[in-house]
């Protein structure tokens, strides 16, 4: 029963969708503050490589090491996006250019692979991993077992995050102020909200979550570092933010949809279904384009909740 193709795909949709969700949730926070982060891909890779390094070198019990690796990977992501915030918020550079520069600088042929070479991360597998759990011993329960009770701790953490992030964004004063900053920084500023502080904090938070997504790649998916291993996940995450209308709950569903698309190819091939592997492998990216085209109409943007000031540097009028 648990080798039913739908069970397998649902289980791997969640497994492979989780890092997409982390990065996309980070994107929600960043974009809600009015900053567009196109540096997600590079940020994820830096998080992944530092996390892998930490997992190999931090001493202590396995649990402690993995926890340290997660925190260090998130810190690397936060640091990377601090640079982005400095460029976009303080120096008010073009956000598109700054984000692309971060991805190129930190990405698969940049700093992340440089660190991997210098630290010799790839020479041995990352033994201390984030493993799939057997929650309550229910991993073998028909249908629901592999889907819900056989994921990693990070997936369960992501479920908690959806709830917390939704409450924060829509039920707290901070969330309201954050949205105000993203909609109309002038108004927010006039109300006495510190626009710069909000943008910095949420860009950094976004980077930390992207770093967490990267750690998931190097500690849970392939416990061996590979240069450029996220393979475009950062770009899918940026599209997911839009797909999810800047809302955590819808974004989670979107992440699982893309996770399913990513694993569909292998599952069908293992069953000898004759579909071109290239077509299947391209599906997530094809879907990304479809989603972006659909939601990028003016109507969609106004109705779906894109922050009005997204991508616009805020410049207080000079006195």
């Amino acid at each position: 029963m648990n080798s039913n193709i739908f069970v397998i795909i649902a289980s791997s949709a969640i497994f492979y969708g989780t890092p997409l969700f982390f990065a996309a949730l980070g994107g929600i926070f960043t974009e809600r503050s009015g900053v567009l982060n196109l540096g997600v891909e590079g940020t994820m890779l830096l998080g992944g490589v530092t996390g892998a390094w930490a997992s190999q070198h931090v001493p202590g019990s396995a649990w402690f090491t993995v926890l340290a690796a997660i925190i260090i990977g998130m810190a690397a992501g936060a640091l990377t996006s601090t640079l982005l915030a400095f460029l976009c918020v303080t120096l008010r550079t073009n956000q598109t250019v700054a984000g692309l520069a971060i991805t190129i600088f930190a990405g698969g042929v940049g700093l992340s692979s440089y660190f991997a070479n210098v630290w010799k991360v790839a020479e041995a597998p990352v033994d201390r991993q984030v493993r799939r759990l057997d929650v309550l011993g229910w991993a073998d329960v028909p249908v629901l077992g592999p889907i819900l009770f056989n994921q990693t701790i990070l997936t369960y953490l992501s479920w908690v995050m959806v709830v917390l992030a939704s409450i924060y964004l829509f039920r707290t004063r901070f969330g309201l102020q954050l949205r105000a900053v993203g909609e109309s920084p002038q108004t927010a500023d006039a109300m006495g909200i510190n626009v710069v502080k909000y943008r910095y904090l949420h860009t950094i938070l976004g980077g930390a979550l992207a770093g967490l997504g990267g750690v998931y790649y190097s500690l849970a998916i392939v416990p061996t570092w590979v240069d450029g291993m996220t393979k475009g996940a950062g770009w899918i995450a940026i599209a997911l933010v839009i797909f999810g209308f800047w809302r955590p709950s819808i974004t989670l569903i979107g992440a699982y949809l893309f996770g399913a698309l990513q694993s569909l190819s292998s599952t069908l091939k293992a069953r000898n279904v004759q579909i071109s592997g290239d077509v299947l492998d391209a599906l997530p990216f094809f879907m990304t384009i479809v989603v972006l085209v659909l939601v990028s109409t003016r109507f969609a943007h106004r109705r779906l909740g894109a922050p009005a000031a997204l991508g616009v540097p805020y410049e207080r009028e000079e006195r």
């Binding site: 080798s3 120096l91 940049g110 190819s265 091939k269 293992a270 000898n272 290239d278």
Partner: protein, 417 residues
């Protein structure tokens, strides 16, 4: 005013990031200057004072399993006018991929250690199979390299083109089939060790349902898949091998997914061919499924599940060939190594391989050492039920190289295109 200065400072920072990228990513990594000690082989002539080449014997006579393209193939002299011979390797993956490229780079380093100051080696990693290959070759030649090693099948056409454009440069290509006066091909009978690794897998599989990841359906990979399957079925005649085409030489996340999908299908033993990373082993380790790797000994990292693997020793070919260049006696031709000259070998056995299985493998190893490729002797049927070889008939070398069928016992098809 203030904002303008800030804006341009920002742009300058962005530009600095870009420059940083060029510094980090675009650089090729030259190897450390030659090791300090003298070359191990004392009779190796030290570089420039080697005898002028015309009367030196053509090298095909001395290197086993090497045949010049023709009897009157010209001797190519690609020695530099002065300084060490500069040789460059081009890799499809990173030098730390835990498999194919890592082994090639280990060989490059062994070559460097062997020749010391007489040869200066360089490499370019992560070169995609596409238009960049030709550009990379041109850059390397512009840097003074006169020997270029290619290590991925998809580089072949660029090598043919570059060889025509640079008749005074020696080109050495692994795993291809096209030749020229200054373009050699070198590879070897990995299908023999793949067969032996398949025996280990077939014996280790409790249910006889084996699975294999494969890269692209080209001759080299099909030979490996078929030989591996043959080996598995020698130990368990009912065994089947479910093959999944990954469509990449190096894509660890996807390899892991494919291996997990096979395990979810009930596969209880895994193998791989033309797959450069040990990601299959990661999936095998997580599920506790025996695993036969490919082109790297991973017995230390994957001890619980490790069976064995095909390993290559590229130096068996590369050291004599570079020596031939230094001697002024290099001619282009085809090399196909095997177990007897040590070009291919079987990696350390894992604990899962029983004494009985090891003995059976040893017996076959001796047969294949004496007569390479002899496992491809009829009767052989393909997995559609057609007869490929009648009883007692063997493939010619050309048939082996252009193999285009999947053998009986393989579940799967050769993907179109």
């Amino acid at each position: 005013m203030l904002s303008k200065t800030r804006g341009s400072l920002g742009l300058a920072l962005v530009a600095a990031l870009g420059i940083g990228l060029v510094a980090c990513g675009g650089d090729d990594e030259s190897s450390e200057p030659a090791a300090t000690e003298a070359p191990a082989a004392s009779e190796a002539p030290a570089g420039s004072d080697a005898p002028a080449g015309t009367d030196a014997p053509a090298q095909g006579a001395t290197l086993a399993n090497f045949t010049p393209w023709s009897a009157d193939a010209p001797v190519i002299d690609c020695r530099p006018e002065e300084g060490p011979l500069k040789a460059a390797w081009i890799y499809v993956g990173p030098t730390n991929d835990g498999g194919w490229t890592q082994q090639h780079d280990a060989s490059r380093q062994a070559v460097q250690d062997h020749f010391g100051d007489a040869v200066e080696t360089t490499y370019k990693e992560n070169v995609p199979e596409g238009p960049q290959v030709l550009q990379t070759i041109e850059d390397l030649i512009a840097d003074g390299n006169t020997v270029i090693f290619g290590t991925s099948f998809g580089f072949q056409d660029a090598f043919v083109e570059a060889a025509a454009a640079h008749p005074d440069v020696c080109f050495e290509f692994a795993t291809g089939y096209k030749g020229a006066d200054n373009l050699s091909q070198f590879y070897g009978a990995a299908e023999d060790t793949d067969f032996l690794a398949g025996m280990a897998a077939g014996a280790a599989s409790p249910t006889g349902k084996l699975g294999m990841l494969a890269s692209f359906p080209i001759g080299e990979v099909l030979r490996g898949v078929n030989a591996w399957t043959m080996g598995a079925r020698m130990m368990n005649p009912d065994a089947t091998v479910n093959v999944v085409w990954v469509n990449s030489w190096f894509d660890p996340p996807n390899e892991r997914k494919a291996a997990e999908a096979l395990i979810a299908e009930g596969i209880d033993t895994l193998g791989q061919k033309g797959i450069d990373s040990p990601a299959t082993g990661d999936a095998a380790k997580a599920a506790g499924v025996p695993w036969a790797g490919y082109n790297a000994d991973q017995s230390a990292n994957y001890g619980d599940v490790w069976l064995t693997a095909t390993e290559y020793d590229w130096t068996v070919y590369q050291i004599p060939r570079l020596q031939a260049i230094l001697d002024g006696a290099w001619v282009a031709g085809n090399y196909y190594g095997n177990l007897s000259d040590g070009f291919v070998k079987l990696a350390t056995f894992g604990d899962l391989v029983t004494e009985e299985t090891r003995a059976a493998i040893q017996a076959e190893l001796e047969k294949l050492t004496a007569k390479p490729n002899s496992q491809f002797t009829g009767p052989i049927n393909d997995n559609k039920g057609n007869e490929v070889l009648a009883a007692g008939v063997s493939h010619t070398f050309e048939e082996l190289m252009s193999m285009a069928y999947l053998i009986e016992g393989v579940i799967g098809d050769i993907p179109a295109g």
